[in-house]
Symmetry: D2
Subunit: 472 residues, 4 copies
Amino acid sequence: MDELKEDCGIFGIWNNPDAARLTYLGLYSLQHRGQESAGIAISDGSKLYSYKQMGLVNDVFNEHVLSLLHGRHAIGHVRYSTYGSSELRNAQPFAVEYKDGSLAIAHNGNIVNYETIRSRLEAEGSIFQSTMDTEVIVHLIAKSDGQTTHERLASALNELKGAYSIVLLTEKELIAARDPYGFRPLVIGELNGALVFASETCALDLIGARYIRDVLPGEMLVIGENSVRSYMFSTRVTRQSQCVFEHIYFARPDSIIFGKSVYSTRTAMGRILGIESPVEADMVLPIPDSGVPASIGFSQQTGIPFQMALIRNHYVGRTFIQPYQAIRNFNVKVKLNPISGVISGKRIVVIDDSIVRGTTSKTLVKMLRDAGAKEVHMRISSPPIDYSCYYGIDTPTRSELISSSHTVKEIEQFIGADSLKYLSIEGLRSVIGQDADNYCYACFTGDYPEPFELAKRDHQLILFDEGRLHGG
Amino acid sequence: MDELKEDCGIFGIWNNPDAARLTYLGLYSLQHRGQESAGIAISDGSKLYSYKQMGLVNDVFNEHVLSLLHGRHAIGHVRYSTYGSSELRNAQPFAVEYKDGSLAIAHNGNIVNYETIRSRLEAEGSIFQSTMDTEVIVHLIAKSDGQTTHERLASALNELKGAYSIVLLTEKELIAARDPYGFRPLVIGELNGALVFASETCALDLIGARYIRDVLPGEMLVIGENSVRSYMFSTRVTRQSQCVFEHIYFARPDSIIFGKSVYSTRTAMGRILGIESPVEADMVLPIPDSGVPASIGFSQQTGIPFQMALIRNHYVGRTFIQPYQAIRNFNVKVKLNPISGVISGKRIVVIDDSIVRGTTSKTLVKMLRDAGAKEVHMRISSPPIDYSCYYGIDTPTRSELISSSHTVKEIEQFIGADSLKYLSIEGLRSVIGQDADNYCYACFTGDYPEPFELAKRDHQLILFDEGRLHGG
Amino acid sequence: MDELKEDCGIFGIWNNPDAARLTYLGLYSLQHRGQESAGIAISDGSKLYSYKQMGLVNDVFNEHVLSLLHGRHAIGHVRYSTYGSSELRNAQPFAVEYKDGSLAIAHNGNIVNYETIRSRLEAEGSIFQSTMDTEVIVHLIAKSDGQTTHERLASALNELKGAYSIVLLTEKELIAARDPYGFRPLVIGELNGALVFASETCALDLIGARYIRDVLPGEMLVIGENSVRSYMFSTRVTRQSQCVFEHIYFARPDSIIFGKSVYSTRTAMGRILGIESPVEADMVLPIPDSGVPASIGFSQQTGIPFQMALIRNHYVGRTFIQPYQAIRNFNVKVKLNPISGVISGKRIVVIDDSIVRGTTSKTLVKMLRDAGAKEVHMRISSPPIDYSCYYGIDTPTRSELISSSHTVKEIEQFIGADSLKYLSIEGLRSVIGQDADNYCYACFTGDYPEPFELAKRDHQLILFDEGRLHGG
Amino acid sequence: MDELKEDCGIFGIWNNPDAARLTYLGLYSLQHRGQESAGIAISDGSKLYSYKQMGLVNDVFNEHVLSLLHGRHAIGHVRYSTYGSSELRNAQPFAVEYKDGSLAIAHNGNIVNYETIRSRLEAEGSIFQSTMDTEVIVHLIAKSDGQTTHERLASALNELKGAYSIVLLTEKELIAARDPYGFRPLVIGELNGALVFASETCALDLIGARYIRDVLPGEMLVIGENSVRSYMFSTRVTRQSQCVFEHIYFARPDSIIFGKSVYSTRTAMGRILGIESPVEADMVLPIPDSGVPASIGFSQQTGIPFQMALIRNHYVGRTFIQPYQAIRNFNVKVKLNPISGVISGKRIVVIDDSIVRGTTSKTLVKMLRDAGAKEVHMRISSPPIDYSCYYGIDTPTRSELISSSHTVKEIEQFIGADSLKYLSIEGLRSVIGQDADNYCYACFTGDYPEPFELAKRDHQLILFDEGRLHGG
């Protein structure tokens, strides 16, 4: 229920006269992956232009701005806001000039060895203007002695550990790449002869592009004037580790992610949950919108009627409202309102995709009881989250994850539900099916695909660009 | 499917130290009733303060603005944008000074004899600064020789024809009133001793207020320091004519409107529709979000599985996107994306609340067929709209309403559906139940509750306040 | 030295295809008369368009805005900010619709019986949306039973007491008028067949218009499609009372005001002052910029060398700086910096146009002594201000005027000057010359041209339009 | 007459609790040196904070912003807008993080070998985010193997050719330096134990600081917790080359520059001009404001009366007005208005500080003749500008300088003056006096202090940060 955040959506298009507008529409479809800032870089074949701003895609771009972004090749980015780095200098695409010309990059993921590389680069005399891990990629490219942009990029990427899907634009080329683990998605589409890249297929759908296939883990596609070349750039042997949480929560239900329909995997999760943990009840209630497909699956499996009796406020995304003590259950009620006429006196099964800290679920159960529910049974369409993610999902530290220190029974008591059940790992793997081994389940199991280091830099410089002021 | 617009939401609160913030939250809950402008007027017992701006509630108000709105008594307003009058001077509450002090008014509805009254007032020497019908109410109040504000307001309201729910604030009083027909809703709530008024109960829910009853048609409630008085102000005998479209489409499903749960009436409409016009099919698809309850009812009645396979873009409300010819089905696709993996090869029943011009439905059917649907059956949870509304709903002129000139069969062919069926008037009345005679069905029947005149004034003056420029 | 403020500059043009741009340039030339807000109303012969905003002319208008203001006839206004009414609703031109169509008015002056008229209008049921005296004029016009706009305006003006120069625009006519006393200036110009009106001739100069004559006290000029008619509208017998302070301080030195060159009258004031009150000194220092011409006259008369050794900060107008205690003489130093290398060890004559409260002069003398001046002699090119103005100049109340309660000797001691002398009334009248009787000297003599009433309304309503918040 | 532009003003303060506010006031005093952007970086002893924006000092900073800039040590910068680089990324102070922590730098001048250094750095793999020469200094610092910040800075500066005055701030130190030629000014002041640096002494005057001395050419002052150390960092032998144009035009007349009062040198220039090129005339007219002191000197020398009969529009700086063909002499008239009543029939001497392209002077002469001048004699208080400047003044290319291709007689004819005379080089040197050899006169003589290279980079990347769009 809106408790986990991913950090970005990316888009790219090569060879379309409407490149700026189509990138804008692609970003608009990917808005759920990042609401902090939006940006587009575009090439007219000889120059790069770049525009980015804090805000939603529709606030950042308008007819006037789009009309000034000339060119047939473009990349775009939407960024999610993590506290402390919500500044224009961290918006993307990140565009610079270096010896070989101009270059813009848009990045989704998390570079695990960012601090190590940055310290090494600083020791060699590099200066840094942002706090984004993306900036080190550009430094590595500029310092590589590769002969071509893609050789330089390959050399840079081979120094990185962690998760990244990338689109990169120069005056003459567009390059798309995905880390060898394949953590984050990146798909290839085609529209009237133009090549399109996007984090999710819903972006292809809106602009009418045809989904071709995913960029493969460890693959780099280099698009130039008359050529499309594919390279497997990785010098490491890795197992694929696609993020299963894209299917559980992040991706839009109308997208195909890692080759599978998100809507179908979610209804299947609800069905398996109905088999694993049935319950006597009068109705199944989804937490909108992420819980809807699993609820439909659960309802169909168990025969318990589906009701849409928690109403979501559509304007909630923009609210500045601080927790308001005087109003009971405020933090949930500002997003969801239960219809007490439907709920009152009934035994309810509520389906949510996950529990993070447990406090939101606790409020929700309280709110449902206030609305008259006789029994509240909670069913979670994923296993308990026991471990933090280091590959692009903004999970809290382990100690804040209620599952890391409490049994399911204890959580059930904490949130005040009559019963609480999670989908099992085996159930989840059965939903994924035959390529279940190609996914990362580290947030449930702690079995991270690679060892990592994570030192938190103590940032010294606080930039107040463009009127936004952020505390130290 | 987002084709009809209502013009406003109103809110009022008397005697709460957090009046500004609670009004803000109330307006935030009523945001679906108007997205053009938002405003609050507040009284600290001796002075009125007023703040209003173009934009969403969350864009207009912030901590700083709220902290400056001192007082225990407040009213608020959200306004929907009709073309040509999207200007700050038309935002509400409308606040003025006159012989008796200051006065602010927030109004939901449409004054049918506005032009007549305005012409008469102008002939007597009045000057006008807005193009809102609300302004005439204030002139009538100022010119009345009533001794008290509520006498003046009653005298003013008795000159009006049409639909209005009103909250009015002076330094010392808050007055709420509803036209004798009761077209537009207005409910009374209570929160820790404070009296609350709102267009819908969802606003009471968010702030934790208890729903007491509706303001009655023709009732005026006058709240002062130590008194709450109710007057039936109307000098005319009328039949109640509550707007049935609030139940079909406008109100939030979690609201109680005219004493009935909106969610329940909508699921009942779907159920009756399933009885009246069943069909062989593989799944029921709602047009989100307004079609969801009726789809659930239809699915439960017919046993055809419910699927949420049209995904709504949550950020659509703000988009400036012009019709984009190059993209097939763009006008609908920018709002909704069908999941072809679910739909492909299937017989679909699509449930929508209404058809206005027919073009949107036509695009929708085309889009579903493009997504692979084998059959597309359309079911509408209301009767055909044959007549324009003059009581606060922004219907197009009659000639633009496809039902006014086409049979259901012709519309079925126009939109390209395999079958099209509407809910019958009798079916709709049966959903409303025993007080079905107290509702207005004029948009379906042409049986308007009162005769009216509608002359379109040729406005001469175009004001470009605060940097917004609008053509002549 | 920037201590007195006037309230407005007005401009009008009839029959020029570039009316909007020329009005913009005219207002730009009149910017010294008002820096709070700027606005233009324009007629294309059938409709009025109006645009106004808080801010300087160049901030309010840009190419885009001007390109949307179509028409050949326009009026404009710049307004000076008095505390408490710095709101968009008080910006001008004030544009309304009434029975006869649309009407916009721009007004310079002060209606002395505003409160009386407003109370009477309110008693008759009028509502008010601004706190400007200008609004009553429009109400009076709308209520007049005159047959034509100019008859209605004449009837309205005859109810007013006080100072006003006015330009009024309807769809078909432009009317210019000046009160029968002629307090505030208003000139007529001609540009390629277009008629132009402006508060000062400097606005004619910039657009290349030729100065014809002043609008006469009590005259109304009515310009229509094919006619220019002049009416003497006043029903009262009055003596002319042109504001002598326009010559002393307000008007730009390059303007001709009331038929006389301001630069020439100011140098003459300095010369007479040099005759009346000579002094042994090493240099004459002007307070820039208003004191420059008088200083030149004083220097030429006395032979004491002129030096420009007080340097004005050109960006001072926009500063938000609050009095800053830690810095000595801050309130003057932020505007003026003395060149100590020039001043040090010297006997200085400083020429200023007036002394209001005395505190600024006191700081100035201190600052000059800090810069090393051996002697500081102050010469004021006007007589002592003993009385408040009620005719459009924002003088403080009488008790704040240092001259109203102190002798020149006492003021000399208060400000710390070695000597202080004012221009005599006789000296001032001799500068004005043969029509000296046609001027108002009430601020020096208390001999007001008409009796007046001044009740301060206790405003109840505080409007926070367009994001500007002002306290109660 | 406002035809030449310099590029910056800088300010620094060490050890004052009001550092942010005093820097703000210092920048406000230096506003004439740059109106495009303003910025402040501040250290609280352990962290650097930085805020910068496009706009005037008073638009960029307000109480809220200043209240958030905590610390006792600060630097600031105002920047002048050169076409094509008017973007936020080019605003200063330029702040980055590197291996040694954070660092902010503010720079006035022009690095002549910027392109060479940048190309070398890019070849080594550096990436660039701005088009400012300042950015290379920071790269050089980061790459230096010096042990301390000042060693690194010294090593960086020794690689630069050209003009620079610099203030640099780290968490723990403030460093001020001036290039070995001493092209641009930089003064040291003292305020209650705090050390202050500023481009001009007028900034010291406003905040009440005492002028101590100039930073010497080639000197670096390093201020730390308990120490102030001075180093002569330059490894090259150079002759001092202080910019004589600071005295002629750039600096404020109330400043002491290179140890001399600007007002005094300017009046002396006028006096020498009066000796070298007298003329029979009725009055001396200055071009305000830069021509005023020279006019006073000329008037005092020749006995011809001084008149201030060209009135400057104080609001001109912000105007967007494009050349407006329909108005005669528009480009000058929008800034200056001649008082024809004073000028008409008279023989005029006009004093200006310089002639660049000649077109402005030509318009000015025309405007004075239109105002009735019988004769117009032009006197220029500097020698003819024959060569472009590469040391921080934005002169046009040589071919655009009228003096580079025309004799004085030809220019006299071109501008239409009855006579035209320039101050001689010898006259100028005599004004400067005994240290005349320590100045740069290259714009008059072509005798540049060092050889230089100037290749124009073809920038590829166009960044549209924060909503500002600039063409390709």
